[in-house]
């Protein structure tokens, strides 16, 4: 009996004849219909060129990304698979903060299919700090990946305070937290940065700055939710 990885309810699966006979099954998150109904795909209609969130009808860029444009002169072109809503928050709580590594299977399949749609040469996941490695024991972003990736970044200061524990103001003021470990691997490449959640964009912009310094051809980003 299959159990929903999020709420623990039993999933009644009655495959149709078509599903039984034809090869390949449609990829679906391993969660019950009840939980799935709370899952919201980010729509592609009128996205912000920076963060990928939906814009109001007359806007051409969101307020947040305008700040980034002013600061850096370029935009990240982020894409996210899901909307960060109550269900996603609950998932992240269990996955990241409770440390239920088994939950990586919930979105692994759908997320990797999503990533395959992008034109890129190297996949660069956002790293976690050594302290997180010694407490959480896994990188929540690489845990979601089955595609090959390149670890081109690492964290510098082992600041114990994680991004998610800060307020918006504090997040935006955080100085550079990464450094390059393998600049040659991303030079002249199309880099796709991957992270679990896009919130203010602070983390991803830090990473993108370094990638551009290393001389990559283009840099964009993809996250599970935003």
């Amino acid at each position: 009996m299959l159990k929903c990885l999020l709420c623990g309810a039993t999933i009644e699966s009655r495959p149709t004849l078509k599903q039984l006979l034809l090869p390949g099954k449609p990829p679906e998150p391993r969660i019950c219909p009840q939980c799935r109904s709370h899952l919201l795909l980010r729509s592609n209609a009128h996205p912000c060129p920076g963060c990928g969130r939906m814009l109001a009808p007359k806007e051409s860029i969101c307020w947040e990304c305008r700040q980034w444009q002013r600061q850096y002169g370029w935009l990240l072109n982020n894409h996210s698979l899901y909307v960060y809503n109550g269900l996603m928050r609950e998932f992240m709580k269990k996955f990241k903060f409770q440390g239920d590594y088994g939950l990586r299977f919930v979105f692994q399949e759908t997320f990797n299919l999503f990533l395959q749609e992008f034109a890129y040469d190297v996949l660069v996941p956002i790293p976690i700090s050594p302290h997180t490695w010694k407490t959480r024991g896994f990188n929540q972003t690489t845990a979601l990946l089955t595609l090959p990736y390149t670890e081109a970044l690492k964290t510098i200061a082992d600041n114990k305070q994680t991004q998610s524990a800060k307020t918006r103001e504090e997040r935006l003021k955080t100085p550079q937290i990464f450094e390059l470990t393998n600049p040659q691997k991303i030079a002249h490449q199309r880099v796709l940065l991957v992270d679990d959640v896009y919130t203010t964009g602070r983390t991803l912009y830090h990473a993108a700055v370094l990638c551009r310094q290393a001389g990559c051809q283009t840099v964009s980003s993809a996250t599970l939710s935003s």
Binding site: K94, Q98, G99, D100, Y101, G102, H131, W133, K134, T135, G137, F138, N139, A143
Partner: protein, 449 residues
Amino acid sequence: MIEDYFGRRVLVPIVDMPSKPSAKIEILPTIKIVKNVAVCQRCGAKSRLTDAALPKHEYYCPVCLNLGRVDTLSKFYHVAEPNQFSAPYPQLIWQGKLSPLQSEVAETVTASMRQHEKRLIWAVTGAGKTEMMFKGLADRLQAGERIAWASPRVDVCLEIYPRLNKAFQNCKIALLYGHAKEAYCYRQLTVCTTHQLLRFYHAFDNLIIDEVDAFPFAANPRLFLAAHNAVKPNGGMIFLTATPGRELLNAVSRGRLAVSYLPLRYHGHLLPMPKVSLVINWRRQLQAGHLPIRVKQMLLHEVKAHQRFLLFVPHVKDLPMVKTALQNDLATSEFVTVHASDPLRQEKVQAMREQKYLFLVTTSILERGVTFPGIDVMILGADDEVFSASALIQMAGRAGRAKERPTGTVCFFVGAMSQRVREALHQIAYMNQKGARLLAKMPALRRDD
């Protein structure tokens, strides 16, 4: 604070440990790898290595995550329980009176707790179990022992906590449960859910487990292990229940567990014996918008007599159907449906208590711990597999609890006879047989005053 480690196992990440922890603190392992299984040292769950693996050859327990992750990246801090409580010890100020039968059991409990025995108190629903424990509890608290009162149900804990607070003087009680707002503190008496016992290790001299048959304790062997780990190796355990499961009964019959029976309610009357009524295909009739004829007759009779009752149904999804059928067939609106995640659950139950409704239609959430005086109990689909034998007995036990109306009608409407229904009937009959024998010997036990 070193007190936080007394009799507990507290997870500390290895990376955060000071290079020289205090010499008083024992450092215990969290996970043992045996061949290709990871054995959690807290909950005892055995997981395949593939399920328990983290990257970099580290492992975690995927089973007891809710209480903080047990993994090879951390260790347990533990300090052997020193019973560091200072006088004055808590004193019993409860003034109530016990029936002769209750005081007999209370004496046995006291003796049992003194000798740190393991004992089952099998008392019918509405026997007054809590009050019977007070004497033994007071005696042991005076002796400086550390004691826990645990229950699988949060609502039972929340109900017992103020009662104990009232019954004892200068007694500070720790109350621990999943979403508790207060942090842990070291106290002589602890009230907690059975899940919280997983955090303790050789802490208690005596452990009382209330409603031991309730979910999830009964269905979860790890919690049983947790309970055994939480008491000191020579500690005692008292199991309180109206409906012992097979494992407890087996332990009794093998002589591993002492037992005390209390087959009579505090008012000295026998339990109402459920009537079983066959209603084939009741769900299909409900879908057509009508109650099965036998149910309809029974309920009409109750409504006419203005008899208050509870109508139990197996699933939340049955509630709307039953509601329509009731409105069609009974032409009454003096009822309301309620289920576990109903936002108005507390209000509706309270309204029933205040006699604003004639009856409640509900799922098994009201199976235990609630008392509406003088009600009858109807269970539609009693043979459904969501109703265990113990749940059926508990639901039937809602009837006839008041001194003013010590009897009542209990009716099981079944689509087909099931083993669970049979077992429930058997257990009720068994306790009634014992009770009848007692009454024959000592008619004074029945208090009709």
